[in-house]
């Protein structure tokens, strides 16, 4: 690709598709996450990062090298990485004496940091420790948030939003009923957040809806909420602004009655009733002279009754 004054001209079709994949669109791609380690990490943190990477595959990149960055102080390096790898979510794991086993969940808007929330891991069980059969990779999980804190506390609300963004998976219009096998359950209690991951077993019940049994798989975390860096209100609002083209188009000229009958509205042009194409009756044709005057009078009265305003026609469904 040649760079001239910031305009990159791709030389191959593949490069062009690559660039088109990265540019801003009406309906966006699924958000990618970059998972990285800080200057100092413990075994717990690295395992935790690997497990979350396994949950988020294939929409995640796991960086192998350590990055000596402090996200809360300087986020330029994160923004650079996000620009290069086209990721708008990040997970930064680190460990130091003041903040042991630290995970920072964050998201970016337009390659600039939007929100960052720091969680400390208090207890952690890996995927490997829990020996049951797991769900296939890439299943869209169901997310359940329990606890009043997720509703009342501002920070918890943002955390909820970040976690939904992180674990949501691709947006789909329909889902296979048997494929709803993975559920992530978050409970907020006394400043702590418990994350558990279960496999859903659909058992027979008397009726159509199955009975649920849960089997614990997957990593389980006991988080404690530490620092947060939340976006300002106006930046948050700008990030949520949807393009007008995505709004559903309103269907005009359709209205419903109190009884449920559907009405439509037709707009007609002004019709020249003298030249109206009606059924030809040979006997009523204009004869030279006498009948003309009576005929025209008759047509005129008929014309006044019919109005040229929009008519309401009944549409039967």
């Amino acid at each position: 690709m040649t760079h001239t004054d910031g305009i990159v001209k791709p030389k191959t079709k593949r490069a062009k598709r690559f660039l088109q994949g990265r540019e801003a669109k009406l309906t966006e791609n699924i958000k990618n996450a970059m998972i990285m380690k800080g200057g100092n990490t413990t075994d717990t943190v690295t395992q935790a990062l690997k497990d979350i990477y396994a949950l988020k595959k294939p929409n995640a990149v796991l960086f192998k090298k350590k990055n000596i960055v402090r996200p809360f102080e300087d986020s330029t390096s994160l923004e650079f990485f996000s620009k290069k790898s086209d990721c708008s979510l990040f997970l930064f794991g680190s460990h130091n004496k003041k903040r042991p086993n630290n995970l920072i969940f964050g998201r970016l808007f337009d390659y600039h940091v939007l929100d960052m929330i720091e969680l400390g891991i208090e207890k952690f069980t890996t995927l490997k420790d829990i020996k049951t059969s797991k769900c296939p990779e890439g299943t869209k999980p169901m997310l359940v948030f329990a606890g009043e804190a997720f509703d009342f506390d501002n920070e918890h609300k943002r955390l909820k939003s970040v976690l939904i963004d992180f674990f949501r998976g691709p947006t789909v219009s329909s889902v296979r009923l048997a494929g709803l096998e993975h559920v992530l359950h978050f409970t907020a209690l006394e400043g702590k957040i418990y994350m558990r991951s279960y496999k859903v077993l659909l058992k027979k019940s008397g009726c159509r809806t199955p009975r649920i049994e849960l089997d614990e798989i997957g990593p389980s975390f006991d988080f404690v909420l530490r620092r947060t860096h939340l976006a300002s209100d106006d930046l948050y609002k700008t990030a949520h602004r949807q393009p007008k083209a995505l709004k559903p188009k309103k269907k005009k000229n359709i209205s419903t009655d109190a009884f449920g009958t559907k009405f439509g509205r037709l707009h007609m042009q002004k019709q020249n009733l003298d030249k109206l194409q009606t059924r030809k009756m040979k006997g009523l044709r204009k004869r030279r002279g006498q009948h003309v005057a009576t005929e025209t009078a008759a047509t005129e009265t008929a014309a006044t009754e019919e109005s040229t305003s929009p008519k309401k026609l009944r549409i039967d469904e």
Partner: protein
């Protein structure tokens, strides 16, 4: 009797129904909020801390999760399902939780010059077929691009038009025309982009850049000076301004029919050069070149230094190879005042020919006298 039995039947039916639904009903104080489009469920009920601490944590969380998931599944099962290729699929509604976008929504692209014109004139885009039938090759070919149908640069026979110069190369003419069209297209494309991004584009050819060198600035000044109605003839220059260099004709050619004696002399000189067996060398040029080569080599050797001892022996062969023919024929300018010393010039172009004789002017001795370790 009948009445009792009817009541009994109804009661029994209700009990059965309750029994069946027991397995899937969950009792909650507050109903959960669902966002089925995103497969989300929000439980706003208060989590009892005492319950949590009394029973085992995992068991408590698991039962809570089970209840919430059951309610969510009940909600999902209410939706309409359809069967696609022996798989039962449930249609999900639109997602209701507002989540921030990844990037700002795309700005509408600015229309290009052609698009504006088309809108003005009301010209619609006509959908064209991808392939065109090529009569000559008798096959379907692309409309444009690689191996297209009517490619006039690929014709093997071109009739010279009546009013064209017979010595003109028609093939080259077509190729040049194509090159010009491509360049013009690219230029217009860049102009469209510049207009869309509102970059400043000058009317002339010079584009302002951030840091301009002295040469660029002087060029800009000279261009500005010459771009008057009388081509800069009456523009005063500043007191210490230097006249622009490299102006005027780049090459000077002798007139076709000029001085006959001069021309005769030139032709005889050429014959003499062709006839002589000795190579013609410009001594100063050759010596300067040699000196430059040596300087470069010593610099590179100094840099590589102790690292590459073994290879130094081989290097000279490569270094000398470039000398071929450069010191040789240079037309009428070649033979400067050192005249007949062509015999002494040891640098006869080929790498191995050095050291044949002493270099003139007592320059450096044998070029291989430096400490090249084998």
């Amino acid at each position: 009797m009948a009445a009792c039995s009817i009541e009994d039947v109804l009661a029994k039916a209700e009990k059965d129904e309750a029994e069946r639904l027991k397995s899937i009903t969950v009792l909650k104080e507050l109903d959960l909020e669902f966002d089925t489009g995103n497969l989300l469920a929000f439980d706003k009920n208060r989590v009892d801390v005492h319950d949590f601490k009394s029973t085992s944590k995992e068991e408590f969380l698991r039962s809570l999760a089970r209840d919430n998931t059951q309610l969510f599944i009940n909600e999902v099962w209410k939706r309409p399902t359809e069967r696609i290729e022996d798989v039962i699929v449930v249609k999900l509604p639109e997602a209701t939780t507002p989540l921030p976008r990844e990037k700002p929504p795309p700005k509408p692209k600015a229309p290009t010059k052609w698009e504006e014109f088309a809108k003005l004139k009301g010209i619609q885009k006509k959908k064209k077929t991808n392939l065109v039938w090529d009569e000559v090759h008798k096959e379907w070919k692309r409309r444009w691009g690689y191996q297209r149908a009517k490619d006039d640069t690929k014709e093997w026979l071109i009739e010279v038009p009546v009013n064209a110069d017979p010595n003109e190369d028609q093939f080259a003419k077509r190729n040049n025309a194509k090159k010009e069209r491509v360049a013009k297209n690219e230029f217009n494309r860049l102009k469209n982009i510049a207009r869309a991004q509102k970059l400043p584009t000058p009317g002339g050819g010079l584009v302002p850049t951030a840091q301009q060198s002295k040469a660029e600035l002087t060029q800009a000044i000279n261009v500005a000076k010459a771009s008057t109605a009388s081509a800069g003839k009456f523009q005063e220059s500043l007191p210490k301004e230097k006249a622009p260099r490299n102006t005027g004709k780049k090459r000077k050619f002798q007139p076709l029919i000029g001085d006959f004696t001069d021309e005769r002399q030139k032709q005889l000189d050429i014959l003499k050069v062709l006839g002589s067996k000795k190579p013609r060398i410009d001594m100063t040029k050759a010596v300067n070149k040699q000196m430059r080569e040596e300087d470069r080599e010593s610099a590179s050797n100094a840099r590589k230094g102790p690292g590459k001892k073994g290879r130094k022996g081989n290097m000279p062969g490569k270094g000398r190879g470039g000398f071929k023919g450069k010191g040789g024929f240079s037309g009428k300018e070649g033979f400067s005042g050192k005249g007949g010393s062509s015999g002494k010039g040891g640098f006869a172009g080929k790498g191995k020919g050095r050291g044949r004789g002493k270099p003139a002017k007592g320059q450096q001795q044998n070029p291989r006298s430096k400490p090249g370790k084998r």
